[in-house]
Amino acid sequence: MLEYIWLIPFLPMVGAIINGLLNRRLSHAVVNTIACGSIFLSFLLSVGAFFALTRLEPAARFHEVNLFTWIAAGSTEITLGYLMDPLSAVMCLVVTGVGFLIHVYSVGYMHHDDGYARFFTYLNLFCFAMLTLVLGNSFLVLFVGWEGVGLCSYLLIGFWFSDMEKATAGMKAFVVNRIGDFGFLIAMFLIFQNFGTLNFREVMNAAPEVLIYGGFTVTAICVLLFVGATGKSAQIPLYVWLPDAMAGPTPVSALIHAATMVTAGVYMIGRCNIIFSMAPTAMATVATVGALTALFAGTIAVTQNDIKKVLAYSTVSQLGYMFISMGVGAYVAGIFHLMTHAFFKACLFLGSGSVIHGMHEEQDMRYMGNLRKYMPHTFITFLVATIAISGLPPLAGFFSKDEILWMAWSNGFKFQWALGFIAAGITAFYMFRLVFMTFYGKERINPEVHPHESPATMTVPLYILAGLSIVGGFVGIPAALGGLNHFHHWLAPVLDASSAHEAVKHAAMMVGDGGLAVTSALASGAEHAAAAGHAAAAGHHDLTEYVLMAASVGYAIFGIAVAFFLYNRRPEIPAKVADSAKGLYNLLYNKYYVDEIYGAVFVQGCVNLAVYLWKFWDVVVVDGFVNGLAKVVAMAGSVLARFQSGNVQAYAVSIMVGAVALIFLVAAF
């Protein structure tokens, strides 16, 4: 079974090739059978691989398949290979599972679109790239997927390319991602320089010997990798592309810009957890950026009126949580939240797509209201997902988000915890604001719009995802609540804090006192996590854990209550609030003007520099010099023309004189 894991990414690629080449010659039925069928087969293979792994000893749960040598030169030899282990198994199941549902949903959503085959080509191609990303056995193969998903994202955001705004959004996504890739590339070079390989297992196994705990190299590698992650996973300062990416068809927003691609950075840090654990400064950076992003994006979401924009900023914010988790060393919790988020955010996006579909492309919530009357299925599934993201028990989001906040607190990252905690209530508020504005209250619908419920191909995936939003968290119920935490045990061979801790401790011991001194309170995330884990296992649950749990639930309910009051009971108040705090409102509404600032400083700066170089350096300096020289030569030529007598002997003499003169000239220097 595990020998065939390469088929998991390969099948969607075949689907993409068939649909891409035959395109319009195929009927819709054939196109969607190929597209959905290929990803469904991948899903089955992933399930098979998952069970094949479960039959192995936990420590032996990995399998590498090398297809062929891809790039070789000198000491560099990179094979195109896939690695199946518990982490990639989880990612494969999420990508193919959620991916399949979204493919099915798209059959209904894209039904009337001209570019039907093109859409499914891109979608399948995306699945190929994403699966290559999560299955790649080395940094470079991951990077292939990393760039591949970027390409598909670009193509799908600009899917309706006739609209210049949408095309621009696609371009922006690609270019901003490339800024992140720059960091990723340099990180790869550093890794190769130090390890002589880019293979994950080799690098991670050798890391404790090769790198010095807390040293410059490991910190640089991790920070640079994180730069890559900020691009792909839309964190400060490179998050700006994701809200614009909502220009793409809604299934794309659900699949690429919520459930899978944008979590690639989180996955990548999880994959590299051993080296990250050795770089406390980088870890603190990751956690802090994540926390800031979580809060920052949450505040923007509060004022947005476009239903997809709210969800987009919510995604940025939720990704921030995942990075908090990675940064505090709670790798499993981060991946756990990645998974639950994939369920409820995909559900939310598809739900919003169903709303937009039923509202004839209307996205502005100010022109909605009371839609639960027209779209009962969409409404109920949306509500479930909203409760899940708000962090109310016992839905999925509660377990995963709470675990992150608890780990941040207990590992000593109090500042990051505080930001995350504040953002949690804001999340509940803006999500319920969205629900109240869309599904409750007065109908503010344009008279020519007749809302209707979506077909079964769209609502069935919604129900499945809503179901997963409810039960998805049960695999990771913490010991404090009497759970068995299967999720932790499953990922332990790859992500277990204590094994990373061992490696780190080993490395710290090797460098002696100096290294141990670096192990500050902030840095000892792994140690704390291990300690917490042991405490939990022994049944001594910290009272604080329960207090915090209760506080965050209470706080979320408070957020919901405020939303209920402002957007359901007294809908006239928000406008007044916005009026009385105009400055703040505009700041938030215009997303802190970050796009404008970037545009003026970086984009315009580059263009101005380029124009200057071209018009001044090329045209004035170099060409001016050459043309000037030509003029001088021409003038000299008209003088020298007199020597053109037609006498060959005279020419020969001139040539000789010239050559000798030249040689003397050179000799003189």
Binding site: F68, T69, W70, I71, A72, A73, G74, S75, T76, L140, F143, V144, E147, G148, L151, Y154, G158, F161, S162, D163, M164, A167, T168, G170, M171, F174, V175, R178, I179, D181, F182, L185, I186, M188, F189, L190, F192, Q193, C606, V607, L609, A610, V611, L613, W614, W617, D618, V621, V622, D623, V626, A630, L662, I663, V666, A667
Partner: protein, 519 residues
């Protein structure tokens, strides 16, 4: 060894074909086109056996042929190929066919056009296979003349200015190189060597570092202009914009590679100590070229000029890789020069396609072409991605190896070079967006014909290589690696051997001693 004639056939078959063209009536356009295509195709077919005749495991010169030519001066007809020139020769025969096919639409003075094209092919292959420096110089100069005419006669509005500029820039460098070649010839004799222009003999010539510096400067300038490196690149945008489509393709695809090839074959192995001293300088120029070319490309209004400036940037990568002086960098550099031939060649072909339909290349004249020409847009997208180095397509492999090699040699250079990755995405995608996306609102653009069979005919082979070279580069790099390893060792050995040599005034040397070569 009958197969050793194969290189000579490759070099002179086009020349023979060109002369036969002169006997055809110039109004018999069909015959002329098919004849030229036949010659180019035959040459390509003849070049294919090289794939198995060339022994990948042998790092040295292969398929050599040597005859005395002007024996009194030690000049010989000496040809051969190794892993550095092998793929460039095949690239030349391949691109020549593509170019002839894409020149089907040339209507003006077809016979002369085809004549110059075949002449050009002889020049290019001759320069690549020459192992005698004198012979090399003749072919090197011989390339210049047909190119000059191709730009000057079949070019755009500013063709005369562009052709003259191209000629003067290249000529200045070439003349300096000629002086250096002469000097080396005499130094070799004075050092007790035979009168010879054989590059293989010259490799063995020990030179004091100070002598190397002067010689290197002359060679390096000549090749730098050809590459072109910043700041002697300004002839390129003009030449490219004015040249006919096929001229641009061959200029970008092969002629520029003569510069990088010149470094690998002559400037670097002959003067390794100078290379050592000049490396920081050369790397700096290469990195400036990468960033400068990309930035200036971004603000171009003419698609073709944009592609031309992107060439400056891409060739900057090639130079950076070569001067990294490690296997990753050099293999990457050679690979990237092949890649550039494919992707930039394809880009010029694509620009030609739209120019023929609309007689403009200004970005502002287009918009929304994806609607009217979906296949054209798709092909353009693939080539765009190949040009900006998307993994899985050809451009990435070279760029990655180059930057990795550069990082191992000089992290700072690699970091700056990697910023070109961002800029490349910027200028290519911005152009793509303005040309292909948005509303197709200009009437002239609404009913454009999508790719014709003929256009598919020359674009499809390019696409095959875009994927092939990106997915399975091992097929290509396997034939370069042994030579590159040996080359690096040779450069390093010679550097060590020469580092202690005494400084002598090189020019004075052959005035104080007997310089007569004729015994």
């Amino acid at each position: 060894m009958s197969e050793s004639y194969i290189l000579s056939i490759l070099a002179f078959l086009p020349l023979a074909g060109a002369f036969l063209l002169l006997f055809m009536k110039s109004e018999n356009v069909g015959l002329i086109r098919f004849w030229t295509l036949g010659v180019a195709l035959a040459n390509f077919v003849v070049s294919l056996p090289l794939l198995w005749l060339f022994d990948a495991s042998n790092p040295g010169m292969q398929l050599q042929q040597k005859y005395a030519w002007i024996s009194s001066l030690g000049i010989s007809y000496h040809v051969g190929i190794d892993g550095i020139s092998f793929w460039l020769v095949l690239l030349t025969t391949f691109l020549s066919v593509i170019c002839i096919v894409s020149s089907w639409s040339v209507e003006n003075k077809v016979r002369e056009y085809m004549f110059f094209f075949l002449l050009l092919e002889t020049g290019m292959i001759g320069a690549l296979i020459s192992l005698d420096v004198f012979l090399f110089y003749i072919f090197w100069e011989a390339m210049l003349i047909p190119m000059y005419f191709l730009i000057g006669v079949w070019g755009g509005k500013e063709r005369i200015y562009a052709a003259v500029k191209f000629f003067i820039f290249t000529m200045v460098g070439s003349l300096l190189m000629l002086v250096a070649i002469m000097a080396l010839y005499y130094i070799n004799i004075n050092a007790g060597g035979d009168a010879t222009f054989s590059i293989l003999e010259w490799y063995k010539l020990p030179l004091a570092p100070s002598v190397q510096m002067i010689m290197f400067a002359a060679f390096a300038l000549a090749f730098a202009i050809k590459v072109p490196m910043w700041p002697v690149h300004t002839w390129l945008p003009d030449a490219h914009t004015q040249a006919p489509t096929a001229g641009s393709v061959i200029l970008a695809g092969v002629l520029l590679k003569m510069g990088t090839y010149g470094y690998l074959r002559f400037a670097m192995p002959l003067f390794p100590n100078a290379v050592e001293a000049a490396t920081p300088f050369m790397m700096t120029l290469a990195v400036i070229g990468i960033i400068y070319g990309a930035l200036v490309a971004m603000v171009q209004k003419d698609v073709k000029k944009l592609v031309a400036y992107s060439s400056v940037s891409h060739l900057g990568y090639v130079m950076l890789g070569i001067f990294a002086l490690n296997p990753q960098g050099v293999v990457g550099g050679i690979y990237q020069s092949l890649n550039h031939g494919i992707s930039t060649g394809a880009l010029f072909l694509l620009v030609g396609v739209i120019y023929e339909r609309r007689h403009t290349r200004m970005i502002e004249d287009f918009g929304g072409l994806s609607k009217s020409m979906p296949w054209y847009a798709t092909v353009f997208m693939v080539v765009t991605m190949s040009s900006i180095g998307l993994p899985g397509l050809n451009g990435f492999v070279g760029e990655f190896l180059i930057m990795l090699g550069a990082y191992l040699a000089s992290p700072v250079a690699a970091i700056f070079a990697a910023s070109g990755v961002i800029l490349a995405a910027g200028y290519m995608l911005w152009m793509y967006r303005r040309v292909f996306f948005g509303e197709c609102d200009k009437e002239e653009n609404q009913n454009l014909k999508d790719l014709t069979k003929l256009e598919w005919g020359y674009l499809l082979p390019m696409l095959v290589f875009v994927f092939w070279m990106g997915i399975y580069p091992g097929f290509f790099t396997a034939k370069m690696e042994p030579t590159v390893d040996a080359w690096l060792k040779q450069v390093d050995d010679k550097r060590i051997a020469c580092s202690e040599l005494v400084d002598e005034n090189p020019i004075a040397m052959f005035f104080t001693e007997d310089v007569s070569p004729s015994e």
